[in-house]
Symmetry: none
DNA sequence: GTGGTCTAGACCACT
DNA sequence: GTGGTCTAGACCACG
């Protein structure tokens, strides 16, 4: 899995890292049970401090997206990923709301907006790509 | 216009302020040319620092959503709001992408996601929302 | 509030800190809404690194015991402390179980054990001590 | 005796092992003089490192709960288990204190807490709680 | 070699 | 001056 960070961004590095990993899991390139690189190796790979990677991993663990396994190291959650909890839906709304408001302000149609969302969804989702299982 | 701030949120106050004003404009409760409270009065109204309000106003002006005149005070952009520039669409994607990725990870359908977006759009948009304000 | 740390203990400093603060809240010496010292001042007071204090505060915030307020700094949760959630009861059992098992192994009576628990409860609890005189 | 380990837990494996064995002795499923599996066989049975089992056994021996003979292997302490030493009671208090404090903070009654402790005691204890009532 | 913890020192964003 | 983030380097517990 390739990690791309923007060191100039105002988005914290550990957040970018989390986003990339979440996207990897959502997109199927990281499968449940699969091992992630160790804190140290990932840190040196992408050229950041190990604490930064550690923070990303710790938060992902708290959200239930990965496990920190005593023997296998860090792995993508194998015991079923968290579902659509009310907390998540609330958080999702809070994140969506300002983006949608600004889109409306700029005169974007509902259908155009939905089209954008659909495009991104299919772009990230694994069912769009190459993984059609027999 | 009522401003609701969450002092415990991890979202900076000036950002919350911007979001609320943007939503006000998008929803039609703030109309182009309409005056906004002065930095001083708004700051004392909602109990935050002058600098905080100032920062929000300055950034909104930079985005072209409001105008700041030394004499007339602060008004919602009367000369046509900015449209769907490529820069905005790029920013929008960057904001949408992690939210959508996480929604996929949690097993949300595309149609359910679109439904959420539609719901929020109509909730914010003036055409469905009712303006019972004088 | 007096913080007592044992630097030789195998219990991490940030955990000791959390325990002391929890005990302070439970015992009534820290009241909801009351301000806690800033990360930096507490760190220098007790002679540890600010990151250590920060970790304790962050975890206490995640548990809902304190708030990190943008204006007031760090305060004891004023909006009602978390109650007896199933998660807490499960965690409590996992913590209690080995202690009780070892007590049984060492031949402690149930009544003696309950007496110990009662003694500690009343020792920590505010209603036992200085606030209500018999 | 069945050993159940949680590889994702933040509790070290050797500690989990110790807890399980202590609980086994306390509950009567492991009787004084009874043989425990060798380090090697237990390690391979539960799929952990030799060092891990060894550490658990060594610590249990230090506490006086088991004996390790070069020839006869590992046996549950046959010469009388350690009693309620002052050291143990002190350790017990240190373990109990934060749990009780957090329970108080969450608004748990003393009677409910005692009920929990009693429930766990009787659950672990072999005599099912009809023994030492004078 | 792994993650966990702690320290020291630095810059920045926010208020 | 506050908390948030990041870096660098170190030691330890664990397996």
């Amino acid at each position: 899995m390739i990690i791309q960070l923007d060191m100039q961004s105002d988005v914290p590095i550990y957040t970018q890292l989390m986003n990339q990993i979440v996207e990897g899991i959502a997109g199927g390139s990281l499968k449940p049970g699969e091992a992630l690189p160790s804190v140290r190796s990932l840190a040196s790979d992408i050229g950041v401090n190990l604490h930064t990677v550690n923070k990303a991993y710790t938060l992902l663990k708290q959200e239930g997206y990965i496990q920190i396994h005593r023997q296998k190291g860090v792995v993508v959650q194998p015991d079923g990923l968290p579902g659509l909890t009310p907390e998540f839906l609330a958080k999702q709304q809070e994140q969506l709301r300002p983006v949608i408001a600004e889109s409306i302000l700029r005169g974007m149609n509902l259908s155009d907006l939905l089209e954008q969302v659909k495009k991104l969804y299919e772009q990230i989702s694994p069912s769009s790509g190459k993984e059609s299982m027999p």
